[in-house]
Amino acid sequence: MKTQQTKTEQKWVRKLKGSVLSSLHNERGVALLSVYIASLIIGVVASATFGVSFSEMKHIEREVSRLQGYAAAEAGVQNAMAQISVNAYTGFININPIDVSDFQDVSGNSVGDYSVTINYPDEADWVIVQATANVQTETRSLEARIFLESNFSKYLVYADSTSFASGSDAQYGDPDYTDAYGDGEPDYPELVPPNEDDRASLYFTGDWVLSGSNVTLYGDAHAEGEIQATGSGDINGDTYSADYDENSSGAVTDSGVSGSVQVGDGFDDDEDRNGDFVVDSSDYPDYHDLTDAGEEDSHATETLVEIDHSFYATNNDTPDFVGASAQNRFLEFQKNGAQTEIVEYSNNQYSTQIGSQTIPSSAIVYVKGDIYVKGEIEGRVTVVSSDDIFLVDDVSYSNGQKYADADHSTAFLAKDKLFFLNNNLETSGILYAENSSNSSVCFDANYNTNLAYDPNSKNDLHLYGNRVINGSTNLSLYDDRIYGYDKNLRYYRPPGIPVVPDLRIVREVDPPAGS
């Protein structure tokens, strides 16, 4: 019995051994196992690849949204620029906010939204635009700074004339006696600052002729023709002439300046034009070209932005001065709190008052007819005539202030001519004569306060501001003339002075709270 049981056990052991050994020998099942392992590995790798790909897709989607947000914010800046440009030629800046709730791409697909805020601090020379765009979950915000430039306020003199003559003893600009070191000596060798933006500047669309003796400029001169001294003069600054020329090696063949005139700002900031490793007179330091593009050290030519008389008529703050027919107005400006009160008289003797009115602190005074003016300006006031403006007596800002600031600036814009009547006259602000009658002179000093022809009685003329002249002047009838420069007028222009917006700075900023 025991033997029988042992045999059976031995038989099972042999069978089991045979089975295992047989499996090992014939490798049955290894292929399936290998395939499963390989499948598992491939599955893991594929899953990992899928995960990475999915993550990158998400990143790219987010990046696309960010790029779209940036582009949408840029569109907001462009939109603001366009809004500002619409009325820029009138000098008024439209600061209404912009809100585009459905910003679309070229295919008409909705991208997101953007909003724009526009700030015009002190109504000065900069406009600050902030555009914020939302695309998907991304919000981006751009700040743009737009510079407002006007050649009505940029130049001490802008003369549109084939030839503009300056008579004896004319002084353009004021000497700068800055003494920052306190050594008792002026810091600037020729009494002009090194930064050209701080200097007075003249611009002539033709030749500038220094016809008299002792003509002095503290600043830079630009002429689309030549600067000629048939008399004599000093230009304490740089010259920019379209006649300037160099040969192929860089040597100056025409400086654009002729005659007895000294040119130079006194600073060693000039280049070695002829390549002899020495900057000397042969390099014509401080002489420059005037070109269309203003490349390298040249300056660019400029075209005057026309003023729009119909705009002033439409935005006039003194409707009483615009009747059915033109009428002469005899006006005196007086300070009344933070505003200007205009007192009207019956004639040029200013003896009989016939009315008065107080105008807003920023106002346009438009008169259909001639205007006779004198007095003190409070606020920012632009006076526009459909014909001539007569400067009867001094015009300044309140309390005798000569130079403009954030609360004081003025301009006198005549459709035809400006007359300088008093024999001694001081006037602040921007003076403009469009010369619609095409007269030989449009700044005329031939007449006195009685409106009589009296050219030989003129003594002193002192201006504190800028002039835009469409033609010539005869202000040399004044024995002494100082055409002072008021650089504040570049910043604090009176209303209605044409400006050209120029996008200068764009940077990304934190989105405003709540956007």
């Binding site: 049955r28 569109a75 366009a82 030629y89 585009v100 008409g108 004319a170 700044f443 007449y447 005869n474």
Partner: protein, 90 residues
């Protein structure tokens, strides 16, 4: 031997099926259409340019010469133009 071949075919089929499923799943992930920027656009326009309003110069400057003057004749003005010997310097 036939059994092993059948197992390999079955395993391979399973792997192939898994790969097809994964590729299909990857294909279902939403892809970005195009990057903005516009340089590669056939039309040559920025993608987001539709609502952009570009700064342009005033097409028609308001010509002051179009204005009419209703000023009455001014005898004083005739005097002003009479003297052709006047000084014309600033």
């Amino acid at each position: 031997m036939r059994r092993e071949i059948r197992q390999i075919v079955q395993g391979g089929s399973l792997t192939f099926f898994l790969c097809v499923v994964l590729v299909f799943a990857a294909g279902c992930v939403k892809k970005p259409k195009e990057l903005p920027g516009g340089a590669e656009k056939k039309e040559g326009l920025p993608v987001l340019a539709q609502n952009m309003v570009y700064l342009t110069n005033r097409s028609e400057p308001v010509a002051s010469k179009n204005l009419t003057f209703e000023d009455s004749p001014d005898p004083f003005k005739k005097d002003k133009e009479a003297d052709f010997l006047e000084v014309k310097a600033d």
